[in-house]
Assembly symmetry: C4
Homo-oligomer: 269 residues x 4
């Protein structure tokens, strides 16, 4: 994510704008983050729409076959406000979250999402689409190997914003082990905790091919709308470019592991 | 401790309900946590009652032959409130704690408990009962080996809620060394600090066969009575099961050491 | 920096007193900290004035070819107060910083300083002066080697007061690696974080030939003028000498690596 | 320091009761902590009085040939209150500290104490007395070896209450390295930071032959006089004995290195 040429988007299955609405906003590289519904017809229909809309890849979420226990959502009885719906599911009558005693999201999730998700679903997905499939939610060597052996086109190191399981490691702490396990066979991306250009630099130095950001976009959108998002992207771009310059890197390929010090590095003596 | 099938109780010698009252509440697997009184007739009588009441094992407390210096108890002049007695000792006129200038518990303890407790008492205990005897209060390789060599049917890694000796390690920090020392010959349990399902998962990943909880039960009992205890057990069960699911474990046997990262683990690079 | 004989000064290009004014205050060893302007005539003229004024060395700043993102300066719209100018550039009409919407320093910097600074500029500098050139802003083995191979007369381990790039290491943490890389071929100095005589001692024990201080001088100047600066220098001198005495060092050469313990040292067992 | 049989005292040269007054209070094992005055006649006279008063050893302070920069003393213009004098020096007209602009102690120290203290003074001291001489203020392997090679009868690991030099290690952190360097040739003691019986246990487990305490005695004396000191000694004795019992140690010789875990210990796996 540097110039606009380097910018791409991954759209949630549960976006409140539809696949087609997003695609209609103009050119751009888009991935679709697929949630696997119990009803595979729902999934297949999503995949078709994504293909027709020109998305470039599917990111298959493998760390949310069950929803984490999000105690704030339970306490606040979180649900979508009335004016918002899950637009991609409106025609299927799956677009609304009920208001329930605990978390409306948890309730919707338990009702619709397939908790038996496994490698056979990845095989099935590969059988119904030729789009590249990235595996999102990998934190270990083992899962990296399994994903690649089963045809993953890329790995996204993610802990789902640390909302799924308490005590998961920070993604930046396990990125390097995943990169090593991938052995350069597929690109490895990272999300989680990217707030500054220095974070982007660290991820790239540890071997990431790119990073995804969530909250900086959402918060700036809430604060200042489109202008806010432009501002946050501009800030990240400038900070990253400045970090490169001050680290003596003239191009992305000059960013190496030696440009950073990780907690687990031996002293250089 | 998962489903109710996996739930068992260990009852303190100093419970304010008697062995027989507890047994009469219905079926269940019960252990008895034995305090060794100076008067061995008292101990033998306890053991007989435990056997008759259908308890499945004795846990012999080996970290409290002396009571730790509990400064809050001293400052607060802790003693049992008048409406409570040590029910198991009522007939022996040992059921009450006096109100003294310092800790009533410390005073009672110094008067009744045998501070010379040693391996010969374990031998004696084995000679008077055929119940399996677990050793509770182990924190080291050395004590694990001694306990097993002397016939322990199991090990409970415990620091007595950290109330006995300042600076003892947290049980989760020494669990792995005890498990390795046990070499699979007897089960190793853990108590101390278990508050969430993730804690249960960590203990099992480090090799524990199960965990004991104290304060969550006591606090929920105080707050909401039986319903509170049910709630806390339910919470632990659900969180543990969710942790398994999100860690990709379909059964207890699939929980391995590689599912967690301990502070002392080398970087996986 | 011990007795006055050991005291020397490095003057910023952007001082608010001119090279000549500083030189006229009396004898003393002075270095000049050179900022490389886009217009090399400006640079060459500075170098000539520095030579004529009897300065002993040039320190070439290599960590500020771009100005760090100093958010306080941006927020406060930092610029020089009207009564101060960059005296060395008055005749060149480059002495003033404009008042702008963000940081006046950043604006001036972006306009005047050459962001393409590289080794060829060091070569050029060597071609126009015979003054020794120290390289300031080194934090790694790699840059140390490059600097020495290209004729640096000394190394200054500096992170520019940590104002250039977030997450740079503290200079004291990398000093030893730089000293080892220098292999005794040129002296290594340190700046950053020196506040007490114990800090000077630590730097020397890690192999520094000397240290530079900035804020202690500036703060004491602001608080008590010349007397304040004398006081802070006296304090550092006395504390350093006392540290030597209490560490059993009778001369600078008796200060060794064994007189300190660094975080990365193995236990001495 | 366990029962009274294990209790001994070390008296400061600058005590406000004289050597003879202290000796007259009854039997007891006493050491004398010797400060080396510029005037060696003063020192020799102290040594003679100590011998005559039946003291058992001299502890030679080697970390205070210069007084540390004690900023609180400077700020508070510390001096002895008028009703107190350095009783051991009354006849020599050296018993009073002047009230000065900064620290009265620092002023007295600078005037009287020999900052050139070195091994030749230890040799001289050995030549004038047959009392065993312990070296107090050792923190390293190197100084341990030098002290023993030069006839020290014992080592006291001390950082002078951390009042001499900022950043000295805590004594408990270096005790083990000193004990190993001493190779059992002389006893090693520790002072600094001993506040609880657990601290005594840790020091002994790391190889100390005993510990010295200062502030607990001084504070309890200020709070409750003789009864306070008795109380604090009783507390330490009871806590230490309880720590032994709960660690399974029936005698001092059963306290081993394996009874504690130090920060630098490898995991026991």
């Amino acid at each position: 994510m540097m110039g606009n040429d380097f910018l791409f988007q991954t759209l949630s299955s549960w976006s409140t704008s539809s696949i087609e609405e997003v695609a209609s906003t103009g050119p751009g590289i888009r991935f679709f983050q697929l949630s696997v519904y119990k009803d595979r017809h729902v999934v297949e229909r999503l995949v078709r729409r994504v293909e027709w809309a020109g998305f470039k890849a599917i990111t298959l979420t493998v760390d949310a076959q069950r929803l984490g226990r999000r105690e704030n959502d339970i306490k606040n009885r979180f649900t979508l406000p009335p004016n918002l719906t899950l637009k991609n599911f409106e025609g299927l009558d799956l677009g609304k979250m009920d208001k329930v005693e605990s978390s409306g999201l948890a309730s919707y999730f338990a009702g619709q999402i397939d908790r038996t998700l496994s490698l056979k679903d990845m095989k099935w997905l590969q059988s119904i689409t030729s789009l590249p499939i990235l595996v999102k939610g990998v934190l270990t060597v083992e899962d990296t190997r399994i994903a690649i052996q089963n045809g993953a086109a890329g790995i996204i190191v993610s802990n789902h914003g640390a909302r799924q399981l308490d005590f998961v490691p920070a993604t930046i702490m396990v990125l390097e082990e995943v990169v090593k396990a991938a052995q350069g066979r597929v690109p490895v991306f990272l999300d989680g905790g990217v707030r500054r250009g220095t974070d982007v630099f660290k991820a790239l130095a540890l071997g990431a091919s790119g990073v995804f950001i969530g909250r900086p976009v959402v918060f700036s959108l809430a604060a200042e709308g489109e202008a806010g998002v432009r501002k946050v992207l501009q800030m990240l771009r400038e900070e990253f470019e400045l970090t490169m310059a001050l680290s003596g890197c003239r191009s992305l390929s000059e960013i190496t592991r030696d440009h950073i010090i990780a907690r687990w590095d031996a002293p250089r003596l």
